[in-house]
Symmetry: C3
């Protein structure tokens, strides 16, 4: 298994699953259909009719159930077949796999692994600012043709801002200040503080919006990682020497979901404490961040293509890679633990 399967992954924004419609999405190599049952609750089934393997995504919704468009079998939100046209009985084996699905923190989370182990309490609470009353949140989705860990790597080493994002988030000050990396069994934290400098264009503009003037700033970047690939970045700038509350404080949330080994659904958000009443700012931020993440997408896809050509080649690590290395080790440990548990269960 190339992924941690017993974990919650964001599958979609709630707005993507409309009543009476089907959303097809593949999560960790599992093709799924998402739709709303009669109560309006989002559910996820395997995207394959158990009869003749037709994708259910080609069917339609009837009263909160999905009808296969080929021979008409109909399934409820738990995957149970409730009708086989042309015969009175429905054998119990006529069912498709259902995946646990929970709506939380503004996202729909699915559990692609063993449903018996799916505990909603383990949905990462680091994302709570996405629907917290003290914050205003917005966000978007970027589809990337790379292995999902390349996006974690990207976010865990912000050195790249100076080069890839030199017109928005990066400047020379970023690479001139060291990082501090901490970890425990379940998370990695990488922190960089950049005191008293002329801020990079993105932050300069947002600080100007609040203050009405350009000033030197203290900048902070605190990256929180939890496996498989949940990352929250506490970020912001404040006038040099002043408390953070006087500046602009943001929180970039990143839920990175493997589609396949070679493609990723990258769900991201931005919660802010500044300019909360500026209705147009959310749209502007989504547009700006989507453009910035296009630069990451191009980089991650290029690296992925090189890695596919050279599987297993050694790389040269640098000082800034501490967070990346710890995070990858944590993911590998989880995958090995799942494999060991599966082997024990098979005995």
């Amino acid at each position: 298994m190339p992924f941690i399967m017993n974990a919650w992954y964001v599958a979609a924004w709630p707005r993507e699953v409309e009543a009476g419609k089907i959303l097809a999405r593949t999560i960790c190599n599992e093709p799924m259909v998402l739709f709303r049952d009669e109560a309006g609750t989002a559910v996820a089934l395997e995207d394959r009719c158990c009869h003749r393997e037709m994708p259910l995504a080609m069917g339609w919704i009837e009263g909160g159930t999905v009808r296969c468009s080929y021979h008409g079998l109909r399934f409820d939100g738990r995957g149970k077949c409730v009708e086989i046209p042309g015969q009175p009985n429905v054998p119990p084996r006529a069912r498709v796999r259902a995946f646990p699905l929970v709506e939380r923190y503004g996202w729909l989370w699915v559990w692609p692994g063993d449903a018996a182990k799916a505990d909603p309490a383990s949905i990462p609470a680091i994302f709570q600012r996405m629907d917290h009353p003290d914050w205003t949140a917005c966000g978007g989705t970027t589809y990337v043709k790379c292995h999902y860990q390349l996006i974690s790597d990207n976010l865990l080493d912000l050195t790249h801002e100076t080069y890839i994002h030199r017109s928005s988030l990066g400047n020379q000050a970023v690479v001139e200040h060291p990082i501090a990396t901490k970890s425990d069994a379940d998370k990695v934290v990488v922190q960089r503080l950049i005191p008293d400098h002329e801020p990079a264009p993105f932050w300069k503009a947002n600080l100007f919006r609040k203050l009405g003037k350009h000033v030197n700033a203290d900048r902070w970047q605190i990256i929180h990682f939890e496996p498989p690939a949940n990352l929250v970045l506490d970020v912001g700038v404040t006038p040099a020497g002043r408390p953070r509350g006087e500046g602009v404080e943001g929180c970039n949330t990143n839920a990175i979901t493997p589609e396949t080994e070679d493609s990723t659904w990258y769900f991201w958000g931005f919660a802010r404490k500044f300019s909360r009443d500026d209705a147009a700012l959310s749209d502007k931020l989504v547009e700006t961040i989507a453009k910035i993440f296009e630069e990451d997408r191009a980089a991650c896809e290029a690296v992925h293509a090189v890695m596919k050509r050279n599987p297993g080649r050694k790389v040269v690590d640098v000082n800034a890679d501490q967070g990346t290395i710890l995070a990858r080790r944590m993911v590998t440990g989880r995958i090995e633990a799942e494999a060991a548990a599966a082997a024990r269960a098979a005995e």
Copy 2:
């Protein structure tokens, strides 16, 4: 071998092989060129010059022989090289494989297997209504990116009409009536009779054309299958309780030819006993059926893609699958028998 090789397969309509021109087509993984020899008889050769492996399809016809466009070798309709430019002698080993080809029932049939076993008497006589004086025939070709057996499956279980073809051939009456399935060593027959109902749109329109009024009808569907994938469907409707001759009688012929494991040439025809003098009706029927078969194409391609992702996964059979199961068992038996005969011959 993924296919029954010692069998006749339709390769083309005769009109597709024009004098002086080359038609390239792959049948059961064998790339072929079809052309007409000096007598105007269609022939089939392997699409590969024996000299430097140039496709003969890139050459041209000279007096009923095919000239390779690369170094000019020339081959007759039996695959014998009749000229090597620049040298007087032609060694006997200079030849390309020729495939037996017979024109019958309005189609060109090739035999991709052992030529010594090719008996034209084994071309399925179930297709004879395609050039029979009591019937008027028309037809077309649909190219489908799926394994050819998915198209047999489709035709052997017409339950799908109620869903895939709900705007033309299907209605609720189809799934409400049971099928009766019979088989012997060489064929499968599946029959469904649907008495006294409001006919589906396609049949309603054709019955109205004949009667000038709308009436309830008795409908019949009798599916004849012979391996590898030859299917004739006796179909029609007649006013409820009246003899078939008073209604509209049709015969849908289906010759399904594997191109590769993942693609199929689907040749189909429709012979009718009704409105035989209506010259425009043939064109209209071809257009209508081609549109209906586009719906099948989309379904078969979708199922094929799921099966490729999940080779060998179990499916749940329903009552309507009896014909499909018997037909697949028959094809598997033929392939195993060919493999066993090949193994004996190799000893």
Copy 3:
């Protein structure tokens, strides 16, 4: 290894590597970036940053060094890392592979194999007429989706001119005259003389340009092959019975460079002794030859596709194949010798 690796291959025309820019090109499966160092000398590095495998081709040039666009590592023309942003020290292992590169005979040559064995003296001198004072040269590049040896094969048997190039280089006289083939350990020479005939369209036009009248001609074709795939064709026509100097003498140079097993950079030139002061003629020749080589491209790609489908199938050789057979044997011998040397070195 599918290629002779210890050999010089043309990677580019010098004009393709502009100061301050990066040219990405794959040679023998090795992705490379070509750029000019501070002295203006072209260099070639592996197209992969040693840090996180980003293609260097996505970076930019700073003072004759290449900056990786992801985390900013910078490399000089010998592949040494000269800067790691955010840390003072650069460990010696931080480097990317550099490939020997020499500019000669109007081309940039790289050595994809063991750099210690790269001797510029072994760049094939048969190409010297490309920058010789007695000749005027021009040329172009054709990208072909085939194995590179199919292009050598093509050039070693000019029988194909009569068919593929029947509107330019070929006519019946070509195939009517025999070839003479010679070889030693390092080269193959195939010669065909075609006395006193109406020349093919390309030569007819060039002879007319010089003489102002149409005459019968003696034509010569002398093909020089050196492995891996360096071919010079001495070609021309002169009025029948007259010395070559009274006619039009050309020299077609062909440096054929594998990109991958399935694709080839085909660099070709044409040096001439006739109409040397006609400035527009070079452009016209490049345009004409590029069109002719498009015909070869189509043929080679078609043959390649057939060979991929039928690996290892036997072909039927004809008399004209002597040069092709000897050349392929020579290449196979070199690849085997490299493999044997590598095995000895590994012991």
